[in-house]
Symmetry: C2
Subunit: 234 residues, 2 copies
Amino acid sequence: MAAAAPPPPPSPTPAVISEDLLPTGYNVFSRIRLATIVDVPHIHKLIHQMAVFERLTHLFSATESSLSSTLFPENSPPPFTSFTVFLLEVSQIPFPLIDLNYPNFSPIHKTVNLDLPITDPQAETFRSCGNDAVVAGFVLFFPNYSSFLAKPGFYIEDIFVRECYRRKGFGKMLLSAVAAQAAKMGYGRVEWVVLDWNVNAIKFYEEMGAQIMQEWRVCRLTGDALQAFANINI
Amino acid sequence: MAAAAPPPPPSPTPAVISEDLLPTGYNVFSRIRLATIVDVPHIHKLIHQMAVFERLTHLFSATESSLSSTLFPENSPPPFTSFTVFLLEVSQIPFPLIDLNYPNFSPIHKTVNLDLPITDPQAETFRSCGNDAVVAGFVLFFPNYSSFLAKPGFYIEDIFVRECYRRKGFGKMLLSAVAAQAAKMGYGRVEWVVLDWNVNAIKFYEEMGAQIMQEWRVCRLTGDALQAFANINI
């Protein structure tokens, strides 16, 4: 998660610039759009990078095939009614304003001015949008429900920005895109979890107005324990 | 949540017995079935009782109307693909084996033998199933998603058993019904939250094989903070 750290101070030595992503005057064009099944290879790589970052690769078993069938099944429900992925793309040229509008959502465009150009050693791997852009991050979310409010909300399962794009406001932009969608749909809450030792992230979330529910603990039943408990009514 | 406390010792004085719910030989017949829109008045009262139990009535704003439109909208998606409610009913006579089967789910029946009969002062209020049964509890859950597993799971938002039915295994029965559905659908996990001071519940969950994720904290963005944060990309 890209936290609200200040940008690094200007360096007297120019950063090494990827020949494939040279921003014009350090302006970067960014776009948040709904992912589709053709984005699965990128989503798979992003989730794997997130597992590496969280030192949880031993828990990672997703494949492109399993992501495709669960995130984009045949007869997919409309966006936002089930598992939904927003992709963050960046480009050195403006994004075309074309055919990505859904009844409920239009892509979000933002021009970000940077002190230094971005060096992206994996630009080739994450090429997108007719090769003019790269995928820089994603957020995966789905509806949850508050019975006290009798309203749906959104639960954010993952939010991830690739390393070279962090500390530039992109994480905030992704989070805000989900909040905006929740507000637009009249939903009551946006929720997610954070690790208690991640003090920078917690500070960032508190500054943006989120409550940290200190007394709650997440319980998880999985694997053999799930199977065993599933059989007790039989 | 009905935890795994032992049943009370037999009393020399017979308990006061509700004239409307006199179990035959202290056997109680129970059933877990999918709720429908006609159950909303019961669901509303159960959620309110849960808010009273949790001392959170100041956060309770659900109405029968708002529950109907959000839990059972027109063109409702199939059970288990969105917000889903299982109702627990108990009766002194066996439940009829009729027309409540969905493609994906058949009601769960269990006969519970009790040391003492149950006194239900609210039996009239919670009448169900042609007046032969009463609604004793519910569980509200919906799909969540693990990107590491690339599998859906279930998240349990609420589980509640009315006071006079607690400590008889009904909470465990409701929880197991969700676990069984998850296992049947090939889902990876069942998750929920617990308050960290509720040591009896935590002990119960650990004994059934659940992990308590001690490092995670739930973050919530709601109300004015949600609206404000929703606007930062504009």
